[in-house]
């Protein structure tokens, strides 16, 4: 198949070309790149004081790539983390986590007591990546995975319901105490637990609220849509619609 010459090449100075050139020149806001990285599950280090926004402002994703830059926003975030140029850095990840068990059965109501092992969100290496500025910086919070004690090495096993419950409860507590970043980090740790997750819808619900509370309304809406897509009549549908509705009102 031989491709014909494109109109822009054959009509360089005409109206057709002007219109097509305008179409090609359009691009999304810089913020969308950061939001999309977060929404796609790539961890986000949120740098306050607009530092990240400045970095993002350097160009669109494709522009950065075309420039051959390997100085990713992740690197920039690490830089800011290292030099402490800002008062607070929040490591958040808005990984939607829909890849895990979105087709699983509705989450059971679990009240099992948490076993000794817990998800530690304090000692793992941070997972910095770009993210939009947040109104209130929070302390660094990152989330390592504490594997289930009974898990044989090299053979991932699903976390127990109790472990899942504990993680989500922890995220809820952190969110309730005003630490959306810590809640997101805990949810990241939860998402990285091996095996299918039976409480994934609950995790998504908390993630949605944490994102909304941290100011990332766009990512929160994306999570809300995922919740609705997966279970339009589920127990979290009303809350998801509320988040989507509030987004509409803001627009």
């Amino acid at each position: 198949m031989t491709d014909p010459e494109r109109l822009l090449d054959t009509d360089g100075g005409g109206l057709s070309a002007a219109l097509l050139r305008a179409g090609r020149a359009e691009g999304p806001s810089d913020k969308l790149l950061a939001d999309t990285l977060v929404a796609a599950g790539i961890g986000a280090a949120v740098v306050g004081a607009g530092a990240a926004a400045t970095a993002l402002g350097a160009g669109s994703g494709s522009a950065l790539l075309k420039a051959g830059s390997t100085t990713s926003l992740t690197t920039l975030a690490i830089k800011w983390l290292g030099i402490g140029a800002v008062g607070g850095v929040v490591t958040v990840s808005a990984a939607v986590g829909v890849e895990k068990s979105m087709h699983s059965a509705p989450a059971p109501q679990v009240t099992a007591a948490a076993p000794a092992a817990s998800i530690d969100t304090r000692s793992s290496p941070p997972k910095p990546a770009p993210g939009p500025a947040r109104p209130e910086p929070e302390p660094v919070a990152s989330a390592p995975i504490t594997p289930p004690p009974s898990a044989p090495a090299g053979k991932p096993t699903a976390p127990s319901i109790a472990e899942e419950t504990r993680a989500i409860d922890q995220a809820r507590r952190e969110l309730a105490s005003g630490s959306a970043g810590a809640a997101l980090a805990t949810l990241d740790a939860y998402d990285r637990l091996p095996g299918p997750h039976r409480l994934q819808p609950e995790a998504l619900l908390v993630r949605m609220d944490a994102l909304a509370k941290s100011g990332n309304a766009a990512a929160a809406r994306v999570v809300a849509k995922s919740l609705l897509d997966q279970s339009p009549n589920g127990p979290h549908a009303a809350r998801a619609r509320q988040v989507l509705g509030s987004g509409d009102q803001k627009e």
């Binding site: 198949m1 109109l7 109206l15 219109l19 969308l32 929404a39 796609a40 599950g41 995922s226 627009e251």
Partner: protein, 202 residues
Amino acid sequence: MHTGVSPIERPQTSEPPLPVASSGERVRFPAAPARLEELVRRELTPVWRLLRRVGLSEAEADDAAQQVFIVAARRLAEIDPARQRAFLFSTALHVGRRAHRTRSRRREDDDDALVSRRDSVPGLDELLDQKRARALLDELLAAMSEDLRVVFVLYEIEELTMAEIAQVLELPPGTVASRLRRARAEFQSGVARIEKTPGEPR
């Protein structure tokens, strides 16, 4: 032609099917975060632009683009790197169609307003205003059927090859060529109409 992506016409889902090996098992590809990050950085703008050209507002395109990459993130290990662009565009078209279907009301931001109530025909000088030009472009595109519009946008704006478009839409190459010819004719006809119209307010 099996491409691993679904045709735009496939209803009910925004997730194209993925390659299956001859053994019947799902093919797995690298799913490293670095691959995903690169994918987002490289393809976000084209995906977003495609969503805009098929009629979504800026805010809608923002949300839809994020949905596209969430799908990609979830299925990254199943997407052939050689066809990931086709996967993204195909998914974007699905998501865009769904956004159209579910749109309860259309908020008219500045761009939309320009599209919907063009009150004068601009001269070439005015077209230096990119917003104005895009509004005209969208008006011409909106006059096309979706089949033609998608092929035209992918070829003339996103600069995909005809073969790539055939992959994205899962159409025979001849059909792509035919649609492109018709789309170009319609576009040029629309441009000619505009050029003949005096540039005074109507």
